[in-house]
Symmetry: C2
Subunit: 269 residues, 2 copies
């Protein structure tokens, strides 16, 4: 747990010092970024490298300020942004913690489907059924989404989520083969809790961001069978690409949602 300053920080000015800056940070005017952004980048590196793991506390603001030789306020601003991006969670009086999908509060953060009446809590947990889990070669489409090459090994998972016995979500997932080596249907079935939490603890992969593309479609015969609907039923198609740190895509997920008792909720601001 070395706390050496990893590399010289670059300040925004060419010649003058700022405030009571004690570390003599200097910079050429062009190609620069604010100090707190650089600090944010350094913290991000430590998050990526696994120096602090999901659920753990990161060093206090004072410690980080000492480590990077900047003021507490600068560290604070860096952490503020990380907190706004849901990468860390601040808890007054306790510390700042690496965000995790395993917490009760933010479980299923990426799942926007809600029951029409009542809330997500009142509904109880989804009943999960793994339909399939196999290793195969990436198609061109999957490869593009995951930034792989066509033919690279990928893992494909198909599962159904049911609420109160009603199958509501049919999902196909594609995961890059190497980071998820060792993932099996048994592993998935045996785990109770969010899938992204399992990814964190078992494979060290933390999803931080995702993009969804939504369409209205009709299911094919097998999809209709698994969701117990007719092939003429309109369904929501939700294609998600989920990213780890560094905007690295780590999952392609195609969901089919029944929206007769549930709806996709989105807040615009």
């Amino acid at each position: 747990m070395a706390t050496l300053q990893p590399s010289p920080l670059i300040n925004a000015t060419s010649t003058s010092l700022m405030g009571a800056d004690a570390s003599g940070l200097v910079n050429l005017t062009p190609a620069f970024s604010p100090l707190y952004q650089q600090i944010k980048g350094l913290i991000l590196q430590s998050l990526q490298s696994g120096e602090w793991k999901p659920g753990e506390a990161i060093p206090s603001e004072m410690d980080l300020a000492a480590r990077y030789r900047v003021s507490q306020g600068t560290v604070r601003k860096a952490i503020d942004e990380l907190s706004a991006e849901n990468l860390v969670v601040r808890r007054q009086g306790k510390g700042t913690f690496v965000a995790t999908h395993a917490e009760q509060q933010v479980q299923y953060r990426f799942l926007k489907l809600q029951p029409d009446s009542g809330n997500v809590q009142s509904e109880g947990p989804a009943e999960r059924t793994i339909i399939d889990c196999k290793r195969l070669r990436a198609s061109a489409e999957v490869a593009r989404a995951l930034s792989l090459r066509s033919g690279d090994p990928v893992l494909q998972v198909r599962r159904v989520l049911a609420f109160s016995g009603v199958p509501t979500i049919l999902e196909d997932l594609w995961l890059p083969g190497s980071p998820f080596k060792g993932l099996t249907a048994e592993r998935l079935s045996g785990y109770h809790g969010p899938m992204y939490a399992l990814f964190e603890t078992e494979f060290g992969v933390r999803m931080v961001r995702a993009d969804e593309t939504i369409r209205a479609v009709n299911p094919d015969a097998e999809q209709a069978r698994l969701l117990l609907v007719s092939i003429t039923s309109p369904l929501l198609s939700v294609e998600r690409v989920a990213y780890t740190y560094n905007d690295t895509p780590m999952e392609l997920r195609r969901g089919l949602y029944r929206t007769d008792t549930h709806h996709y909720r989105n807040a615009l601001s």
Copy 2:
């Protein structure tokens, strides 16, 4: 443009002063809020009351600090939050401006439908056709969404948006009657630009936030006719409630989106 301090600000402590606080702000410990939150509330009031109109600059941080008798940093934190909520826009070197739907950059901020290939810009503006615009009494459902009473006067608008000649969006809107007195089909047809921009300039109603409920549905006969699709085509149903300041609902909008050449895009974080 009076700059009197509107009301005594309440500080977080009971007896001691904070820092070099010169205004002697005092408070009982229970029932409090941070100073910058109170400042934010005061700025919000001025935004609501129309003291500063969309597109205009609000006073500088220094001016506001003097007006409210707090430090610049406290005003800054208040404005930071307003900026994060898209209520104001900061422009370095120029000032802080009341956000507006009329700006080129953030036009159609609430419209998440995008062409499958290319971006929103490359597509060019939508061709708009007002189908209907009439005054009527709020149904129970509409009344609930708009926080009105059943039977209260509302305005209903139906329109179609087409891209490259292809009708893609069919929208029904309901607006509370009193704030939008004087809105007619001609007014809407004659206006080129975002509808929410017209609401700002003509009716002083600024939409700041919205919730969308999304489902997959089939159109009825008339909807299918207007969108040039069959009644078996799956369509995206997007029901939106848009809010002004103070979480006051000011619009109910039901959209039917064709998703054969477009898709609903959502970023999760």
